[in-house]
Structures are given as structure tokens and as C-alpha cells.
Amino acid sequence: MADDDFFIRRFARARDTGDDEAARQIWEDACLRKFDLVKGLARGHRFPGGQWLPVPDAEDAVTEAMERILKMGENFRGTTGAEFRAAIKRAVWFACMDTGRDVLAHEKHIGGSLDERYDDSAEAGPHDAAVERYLRERADVAADARSDDMQSQRAEELVRWAIAQITNEGYRAVLELTYIDRLSGDEIAARLGVDPNNVYKRRERGLKKLEEILRDHRS
């Protein structure tokens, strides 16, 4: 399966050998596969004051974000899928904020400033610091043992690493099968010998734990 690392590795090779046209094409292909993520993140965007980006404005934000992401290829220096994802999240966040400024700046009921950062931090989103710290740690460990195979595993390893921090074995097992093995709810239920309802519950609660771990890790 062609994951983020597959595309970004090829992109980086084309970029570093000066094959700009190939780099541009690969970048476009990678961005196309991120459209649903961008759309979803825009749909779930919350301003620092807690308000959601209004649904009618989300489409504008998606267009703006996608255009920024496409253009990002001009200056993107990363080599991993994880860096690509972090950059996408930042682009969506800024596009939503800019759309919010244009559309909502005059509405009195918006509490707080649109310019505030999430959770009073200076970061673009709640997970970016975790991604960056993780990448730094990985870079330290892998500095002497870098290979294509290892790089292709990075994005997956980030999720593995976070899931491994979850202490509840039941949640952990379901999340591993969901994120890593990409099994459906019914397949997980069959694999673990539990009722599908139990899988639904573990997924929902496990997801919350994962979110907490990633948030805590940035501090």
C-alpha cells in the first residue's frame, strides 16, 4: 500500500536530484490522497475560543488549505510522511483561522481572539509538538542506522509508539488492530473473540486515551 512515506520519499529523491517536474507530480499525488483528511480536519476545526468553524465556511477553508498544501511542495524540505502530515495539519489550521478571520471577525459572540494559539501554546495544533519531539527522538536513535526501510516505517511507528503507552490492554489491542492492521470492527471482534459492541466501546475509549497521551507528551 502506498503510504505517506512512499510518496514523500520519492518526492524527496526527485527534488534533491533536481527533477522538478517529477517532484511536482508526486507531490500532487500525495496531496490528492490527503484531501479527505484536510476536509475532516476543517470540519472539526475549533477556534481557540471553542467555537467550531461554521459548516458553510469549511468548504472555503478546504480549498484554501489544499492550495497552500499544493504550494508547500515548493519549499518542503522534509523526507518523511510524519513531517508531511504535521505540515498538512499546520496548513489546515492556518487556513481555518484565516477563513475564520474573514468570515467571523465581526461577530460578537466569538469569544477570545482568533489569533490565540490552541491551548495558549505557541504551536499550530495540539499534536505538532509531539510529532516534532518524536521525530527528534527518532532522529537521535536512528542517526547512524538510517535506511529506506526504516524511513518507510516512521509514520506507522509514531502511532505504534503512542498506542504502546496505553495501559489498558483491551484498548491497546483494539487500537493496534484498527490503526496498524486496519481491520474492521467485525474482524477485530472475531480476532479477539469478543462481541462487536465491546470493540466499539474499546475503540471509542482507546481513542480518547491516545489523544490524552499525545497531548501530555508535548509538555
Binding site: M1, D3, D4, R15, D16, T17, G18, D20, A23, R24, E28, L32, R33, K34, F35, D36, L37, K39, G40, L41, R43, G44, W52, V55, E59, V62, T63, E64, M66, E67, L70, K71, E74, K89, H127, A155, E156, L158, V159, A162, T178, Y179, R182, S184, G185, P196, N197, N198, V199, Y200, K201, R203, E204, L207, K208, L210, E211, L214
Partner: protein, 211 residues
């Protein structure tokens, strides 16, 4: 106890992983209003970390045809005109001489009136392609966008370049690159550290000061 929300979240995850491109709003509509916010948070949290779905060709064609994606691709592919061509075309379209434009620029930017000649000189050099437009200050681009009645985006696009030449990979590729270039690098470092003999002022800042 398992709730409908848990089940619906799980169904969303399955559809997402399978590359079926589930509509978030359709899933939200399946839970009572008070639970939608929580479900939206869970879905957003999931997709933030989920692997990229395995899209088939039909799904990719569908994505490409989405209005937001089509608009973004269209905006992106419309390659910006080169800076000299854009500046000359806009100036001529508005029947402005370089001197007229310099006068207006000085006024808009609040520069001293004696900077007009130097500003005109910079504008003429820019039109001849003698300046690195990526070093134009954002303030200058904004003012030019206003005076030339064009969008900031177009000007910024024209001022940028697609993938500048990358020196580092070529440098690393040479076995003895460091030895060969050491002398040149030292000379360049000395030059960079030497004080300028020119009178650098705010107009230089605007046109050559970078971002």
C-alpha cells in the same frame, strides 16, 4: 455500556480505513444532537492519526472532481507570471510610468519624497529582471498589489520560485568539495562580514531586505 455513538464511530473508522470516503456529516446526523460534538471530536481525533486510506482509482477520480479540490488544483496550476512580465503588464495596463508608480509607492509606504528616484530605479531594475523578487519585503508586495490593482497572491506567487537550486546535495556529492571550496567560502565569509560602503536605507530594505 456500548452506545450508538460508539458503534457509529466504529462504522466510520471501518469506512475510512476501507477507502470508502465516509461523509462526516452523514455520520453525525445519525446520533442525537447533543452527542454530535463529541462524535465529531472523536472522528477528527481518529483521522488525525489514521493511515492514509487505500483509495482505488474511482475514489481518486472522485476526489479530483470535488469542487474544493478542483478549485485548489486550478489555482495551483495557474503558474504565476514572471515578476518582470507581471510588473510591466500591470503598469502598462494602468498607463503608469515607472516614475508615476514610484511616486505612488513612496506615498503609500510613507517614504520620504527624496526616495522617489531610488524607488523608480529599483522598479526599473525589477522590470528588467535584475532583482531577486523573492527578497522583496511583504510590505512592498502588499503596496504594489494595491497600486497595481492585482492580488497579493498573484504578486507573491510571481515573487516566489519553484524549487530553487539546491546547493547542499551537490556539495555533499563531491568527495573533496569541502577542500576545494574552502578558500572561496572563507572569502565569501569575509565579504559578508565587511561593512557596506553604500548608503543602505529603507528603500534597499524594501527591495533587497528579504522577508
Amino acid at each position: 455500556m456500548t452506545t450508538d455513538r460508539d458503534r457509529i464511530l466504529s462504522e466510520f473508522i471501518d469506512a475510512w480505513n476501507a477507502g470508502r470516503r465516509p461523509s462526516i456529516d452523514e455520520y453525525l446526523a445519525r446520533v442525537p444532537e447533543p452527542e454530535r460534538e463529541g462524535l465529531l471530536e472523536d472522528i477528527t481525533s481518529y483521522i488525525s492519526w489514521a493511515p492514509t486510506p487505500a483509495y482505488d482509482d474511482a475514489a481518486l477520480a472522485q476526489i479530483r472532481a470535488e469542487p474544493a479540490m478542483a478549485a485548489a488544483l486550478s489555482g495551483y496550476r495557474k503558474r504565476p507570471a514572471s515578476w518582470p512580465a507581471l510588473l510591466a503588464a500591470r503598469r502598462q495596463a494602468l498607463a503608469l510610468s515607472a516614475d508615476d508608480l514610484a511616486a505612488r509607492l513612496v506615498n503609500v509606504l510613507g517614504l520620504a519624497s527624496q526616495r522617489r528616484a531610488k524607488t523608480r530605479d529599483y522598479l526599473e531594475r525589477a522590470e528588467r529582471g535584475e532583482l531577486d523578487a523573492s527578497r522583496f519585503a511583504p510590505r512592498l508586495l502588499d503596496a504594489l498589489a494595491e497600486l497595481l490593482q492585482t492580488s497579493r497572491r498573484e504578486l507573491r506567487g510571481a515573487a516566489g520560485t519553484w524549487m530553487p537550486v539546491r546547493a547542499a546535495p551537490a556539495f555533499r556529492a563531491g568527495d573533496d568539495a569541502a577542500m576545494v571550496t574552502r578558500e572561496h567560502l572563507e572569502l565569501m565569509a569575509d565579504a559578508a562580514a565587511a561593512p557596506s560602503e553604500d548608503d543602505w536605507d529603507e528603500v534597499d530594505d524594501l527591495f533587497r531586505g528579504g522577508r
